[in-house]
Symmetry: C3
Subunit: 350 residues, 3 copies
Amino acid sequence: MENQLPPSLSLGEIVGRLGGELIGDAGITVRQVATLEKATPDTIAFLANERYVGQLKGTRAGAVIVGAQLREPLDMPRIIAANPYAYFARVSALFNPAPANTAGIHPAAVVHPQARLGTGVRVGAGAVIEEGVIVGAGCSIGAGTCLDVGVELGEGSMLYPNVTIYHDCVLGKRAIVHAGVVIGADGFGIAMDEGRWLKVPQIGRVRIGDDVEIGANTTIDRGAIDDTVIEDGVKLDNQIQVGHNVRIGAHTAIAACVGIAGSSRIGRFCRIGGASGIAGHLSIADNVEISAHTLITKSITEAGTYTGAYPFESNRDWRRNAASLRNLGELTSRVRALEQALKPGKKGKT
Amino acid sequence: MENQLPPSLSLGEIVGRLGGELIGDAGITVRQVATLEKATPDTIAFLANERYVGQLKGTRAGAVIVGAQLREPLDMPRIIAANPYAYFARVSALFNPAPANTAGIHPAAVVHPQARLGTGVRVGAGAVIEEGVIVGAGCSIGAGTCLDVGVELGEGSMLYPNVTIYHDCVLGKRAIVHAGVVIGADGFGIAMDEGRWLKVPQIGRVRIGDDVEIGANTTIDRGAIDDTVIEDGVKLDNQIQVGHNVRIGAHTAIAACVGIAGSSRIGRFCRIGGASGIAGHLSIADNVEISAHTLITKSITEAGTYTGAYPFESNRDWRRNAASLRNLGELTSRVRALEQALKPGKKGKT
Amino acid sequence: MENQLPPSLSLGEIVGRLGGELIGDAGITVRQVATLEKATPDTIAFLANERYVGQLKGTRAGAVIVGAQLREPLDMPRIIAANPYAYFARVSALFNPAPANTAGIHPAAVVHPQARLGTGVRVGAGAVIEEGVIVGAGCSIGAGTCLDVGVELGEGSMLYPNVTIYHDCVLGKRAIVHAGVVIGADGFGIAMDEGRWLKVPQIGRVRIGDDVEIGANTTIDRGAIDDTVIEDGVKLDNQIQVGHNVRIGAHTAIAACVGIAGSSRIGRFCRIGGASGIAGHLSIADNVEISAHTLITKSITEAGTYTGAYPFESNRDWRRNAASLRNLGELTSRVRALEQALKPGKKGKT
């Protein structure tokens, strides 16, 4: 994971590898990506959102990546890309390749003799790999990470330190699992029985597809009976809670601090904003966007954007409006009464 | 924690052990629990909520557990139980007993010579048990879990990997503590003093009763002066935050992502919905139910259900309604003016 | 970290060391701080908030710390302080000094030969310190804590167990980092590209100033290009999420469960309530206070208190009011129509 100085590339070489239209001197070389604000002449920046077009003025970047709508007005070296942010991601990956995996099992790791590790696997100090675990080729297991009995991990996956994966859970290829993640803890299955909570055994697993990234301290509970399922290409940010028997459709992206209650099914290509919540036993269609801090309390059958955050304001204004909100039902009735009173043929009276 | 094939049991044997009324062939055998949807003829399923009665059609389950109201209309083998979900929990526990504890201290664990471990204790690789810790008989301490100086743990408790318990905290019997939990970190005690925050020493402990389960990555802060207290039978889901000097009454169940601010007292048998919050220094009565995403800002003295989530809608509708909400206090005044204008004896004017 | 019995101090000695005005017998001795409720005659309590003045009656405390407004009405030994809570913090620190650090590297710790540790550093069992890490004098690194390549830690910092710090992140002096914290995980940088999410390399670091405290299981993401920055004296409670490229101004205090989306800048001396959220790319002025459960969706340019929580009520009342809220825009239009109908010169009709 050591930082090597990235190589220089000319704009011509970049366009040669990644496509796009270059306007300007193909011989200009850059050696790193940068923000418009902090760019130096040996770096390349990007502008993905026209809202920030003002930042182009004054940038010292050697070149910029922009969309077609900025083709003309600019007079600096630029690469025109259909999707400037994705193009930028590829350029950054050229300059910042994932660190090479230094294969090997650290002497302070604990690997059960009945675990099977593929070729080129790295296991950090203090990692614990229990019986029957299968680790695919080229995986990296961070220090202090624990894989309990029977866990399976696809090729090329990277687990950062202090991750915990409970028994029998399965992850696909090229997973990226950040520090502190817990996969496969018991779901919240309790039954009230004569004044005491009875634990419901949680016998399902967590099954995770390929190319899934899971942010730091996120938790994904195992299924109560059937499995909890995360499909291919799902991206989860930090501190997300996924309840038992949830299914998250492929290529859905979920921002930090979201909670998804048990047995709900999220569609494919959804985008779920930070700290929103989805109640249990719901079904959310594909391509649904949910705004931050929104609680979804019933199923959504149509693609679209859904919102339910309280609009903030000064505390003084809020006090007045929130107090009125507590009487809104009554206010609605009063308006109806006024409308009745004003109907043709009636005189104004309450 | 290895999965053995569970034994088969006949419906007659199940009713013999657990009670309930069997309707159908007592000789039918099942060997696992299942969901109605995925059941096979050698499994038993259940229906706890009449809303899902449609799922009974087409199930291949060998038998089902249902409430009295479904006694007659069904024609498949069934067990009638007063509380089908609790009954199901007991059946599942028959087929899925907690894994036997393989006692022993892993050679890669670090146990202080002044720690006292009861009989039959298991300590995983990389676990760290400091001076003066007392671990009750039959406990299981997961890999990488750290018990700081003076921690006490009651008999039969199970701590999963990568748990951290700070000095002098006390847990009762049969605790289940999931991975990533932190118990006894300093509460958020800071005093502003001439432009700098001064740390207030947090000298209380966390005291936890018997039969408490704590979900993954939940945090429970130690008391500032007196202790933070979790009473018997409390069930905490994942990623809950419990502030310093909170007291949670016995048998209260709290769903994931809830935050409870310092010094609040929650009653017994409360049910608190996901991602809700309780402000500091409040008192919540017994048997209170709080809905998901609700912020409680004053004490609640009566049992009942309390709610404060913004009702979600399409983003377009939300934009209009939320904008109006910012003027709701004024709208209320306008309605009052209209009512005044329409009082008998007045002509319609503003 | 063992608890020694704290020494006794007379009230005269306390005032001698810390200032304040003593009213009562200077020879009275106390040996610990206490809450008013549980105080015994050998302890000293405090009252910082006049709302709780009723608790003074019946306290058995040997003395109390109060503000000037309670100078006269009391008849028990008391210390008058301009800021009773800060004064109490100092008294508590006298009786409860931070435990002395027992320097030394535990034999079960793994320290890379190319790491540099200052004098008096303690490293707990199972901690992993990678190549190029610099640990300042007097630091304490908890059991199971992992410092990846190139991390720098200022003098006198204390990291509790099971913390993870990713490569190249920098912490200042006297940091306190609680268990389960993750610093420097990749920010949520993904670009949609032809139906697949492309990972944007996260090449910035996290830079943290002096005297910062970070609560249990909080996560702070590394920058996408430039660094994420936490300035001096910031206090973060538990389970906070700080997105990539956020900047938090000096001496800002943030309560538990807050989420701050990428690239937002928080001012100095702000106070942010629990479970609130700040959307991305915003700027928050100095001295802003944000109430609990509030989502900030646009920049705030003026100091003040801002709120946006839905006011809770009984579920029955909520059902009625929330249903009306879904029609609030329309209700506003109806009121406008009524006003039009009642304008002078018009007869009452819709």
